[in-house]
């Protein structure tokens, strides 16, 4: 595995909720990344965001790891949940909150604050 792939893997495995997106929560650069972020926030998810735009290799390595071709990508406790459509669908049905509680415990809303990490 490349160093970059190892760092991406590390974020996926160690952050409670990882969102790979275009831009950051403070400056979102794509409508679909915004949709995924909004869905996660609506469920109170402690989001750790990674901006994939600084280096095209981030997206390549990420998709190679996850088998998911597009951005955004949402992971909960190391498991790929999906992209913006799935995040929205799960948030609307209430399943996202159940998933978060199952994976992170009932107190997941206060478990961590939204943050941004870099992989390059």
């Amino acid at each position: 595995m490349t160093d970059l792939a190892t760092r991406i893997r590390d974020v996926i495995d160690n952050e409670p909720v990882a969102l790979f997106m275009k831009g950051t929560p403070h400056m979102v650069m794509c409508g679909n990344s915004q949709r995924a972020l909004d869905a996660l926030r609506s469920a109170g998810a402690p989001v750790t965001a990674v901006d994939i735009l600084p280096d095209p290799r981030i997206r390549q390595e990420l998709s190679a790891l996850s088998g998911w071709p597009t951005i955004p990508q949402v992971f909960i406790k190391g498991e790929l949940v999906g992209g913006a459509d799935i995040a929205e669908e799960l948030a609307a049905s209430g399943e996202l909150e159940r998933k978060l509680a199952d994976a992170l415990g009932d107190g997941y809303r206060s478990a961590a604050a939204e943050k941004v990490v870099q992989v390059v």
Partner: protein, 75 residues
């Protein structure tokens, strides 16, 4: 749009509902809807991966700039 529909029909011949919507009228932002018994019991992430796989060619050659996916199991 016909090309996407043909690729999806080939990948999901058993689909009971299959639609491709050109969201912006510009031939590059699509919403596809597939209802198929093949999705029964599969997590959404795996359902959407099957759709991406069926459309890997137009995804890869730049035909599709944005793809929204709605999948359903048996109705």
């Amino acid at each position: 749009m016909e090309r996407l529909e043909a690729l999806l029909r080939r990948a999901f011949p058993e689909a009971t509902d299959l639609r491709v919507v050109d969201r912006t009228g510009t031939g590059d932002h699509f919403h596809v809807v597939v209802t198929s018994p093949r999705f029964d019991g599969l997590p959404l992430v795996e359902q959407h991966k099957l759709v991406y796989a069926a459309l890997s060619e137009p995804m890869g050659d730049g035909t599709i700039h944005e793809l929204r996916i709605t999948t359903r199991g048996r109705e």
